[in-house]
């Protein structure tokens, strides 16, 4: 993890000097995480891929504004968060796909389907808190930076989400 942070900082410095190949290397280290975060947020592969591309383009355009390279992960996911919510705001209700349909499209396995459905039933804010904590492994303070809210709000969203998921997934766990 330390090595990764050091290398990221080096690649960020190269990218700031206009080294596109350095930036492509940085992308290759983060694109899967960003894509999966967005996939769990928007539950559509095409949208997630488009948003991922937008995230890395905006990150490149604003990379020089990043004061501390150690903050890159939270900063990058902050951009991803903004992109996802921009898409939510731009989606018209009649064109939005129902969560159940999207869940079946994305995760075919039975348990994964149940988990996916449970996640889809959460509010976008609760789901994002779960994704950032459980799947991306961010600490509470990093999540607060990404989401632009106090740590107390982050914990509140996450705890509520965990309680809902626990109630929802318990039958699955007992059966499994």
């Amino acid at each position: 993890m330390i090595f990764r942070a050091v290398e990221d900082a080096d690649l960020i410095r190269k990218a700031c000097r206009g080294d596109v190949e350095g930036y492509n290397l940085l992308i290759s280290r983060w694109e899967k995480r960003v894509y999966n975060y967005l996939l769990r947020m928007v539950a559509n592969r095409e949208d997630a891929l488009d948003l991922t591309q937008d995230v890395f383009l905006k990150a490149y355009q604003n990379l020089r504004k990043l004061d501390d390279p150690a903050r890159f992960p939270a900063w990058l996911f902050r951009i991803a968060h903004n992109e996802a919510y921009s898409m939510f705001r731009s989606q018209k209700p009649e064109t939005a796909v129902m969560p159940e349909d999207r869940a079946a499209d994305v995760f075919p396995i039975e348990l994964a389907l149940a988990v996916s459905s449970a996640l889809e039933r959460l509010s976008p804010e609760q789901r994002e808190a779960v994704v950032l904590k459980i799947y991306q492994g961010f600490k509470f303070d990093e999540m607060a930076a990404i989401l632009g809210c106090p740590v107390s709000t982050v914990k509140s969203r996450l705890y509520t989400a965990l309680d809902l998921l626990k109630a929802e997934l318990a039958p699955v766990n007992r059966a499994g």
Binding site: Y23, E31, K32, L57, V115, Y159
Partner: protein, 184 residues
């Protein structure tokens, strides 16, 4: 409602420091309800991890684009060459300000001699050009006269040949008329 000294969700999510974790673990050894609650949370977390990360369908890569690339000057500035540039600029300014005044060099020739020399050189050059033009004109005239003579000779030969042809035709006509008179 849990009676644990710290929130069991923080414990499961690994947000507690080592001391707090030890306290929770000691409590769990003695409290069945909290142990059950912690187990449910752990199972929930495990179920969530059944969703595996997907590979990105298309790798993302950018190509060099002049729109987003910093200018050469900006990259030079950011690369740390600015101090060197400032030093060079300072050196140029210093050299401009403290450059020694140019020393006037006295010419060994006086102006009258220089003018006479120039006039002589110009006259020589003009004479050379005129001579070259006269020679060229004479060559062109000679070539024209030669071409005219050749054309006249060719015309004369053509006329002689035409005359011979005419004479032969007359002879043939004459012989044909004599032959016709003899047969009648």
């Amino acid at each position: 409602m849990s009676c644990s000294p710290h929130d069991l969700r923080d414990y499961i999510l690994k947000e507690l420091d080592a001391g707090a974790r030890s306290q929770v673990e000691r409590h769990l050894r003695t409290c069945g309800a909290c142990r059950l609650e912690a187990e449910r949370l752990r199972l929930t977390e495990a179920a969530l991890h059944s969703l595996r990360d997907e590979e990105i369908p298309t790798r993302i890569a950018f190509v060099s684009d002049k729109i987003f690339e910093p200018s050469l000057l900006l990259r030079w500035w950011r690369a740390g060459w600015a101090p060197a540039g400032v030093l060079i600029a300072a050196a140029i300014v210093f050299a401009a300000v403290y450059r020694p005044a140019p020393v006037a060099v006295q010419s060994a020739l006086n102006p009258a001699q220089v003018r006479a020399e120039i006039a002589r050189e110009v006259a020589q050059a003009v004479a050379a050009v005129e001579e070259r033009q006269a020679r060229r004109t004479a060559e062109l005239l000679a070539a024209a006269e030669k071409r005219y003579a050749l054309e006249r000779q060719a015309d004369r030969l053509a006329a002689e040949e035409a005359f011979m042809v005419l004479q032969k035709r007359l002879n043939v006509s004459y012989l044909a008329s004599n032959y016709a008179g003899a047969t009648q």
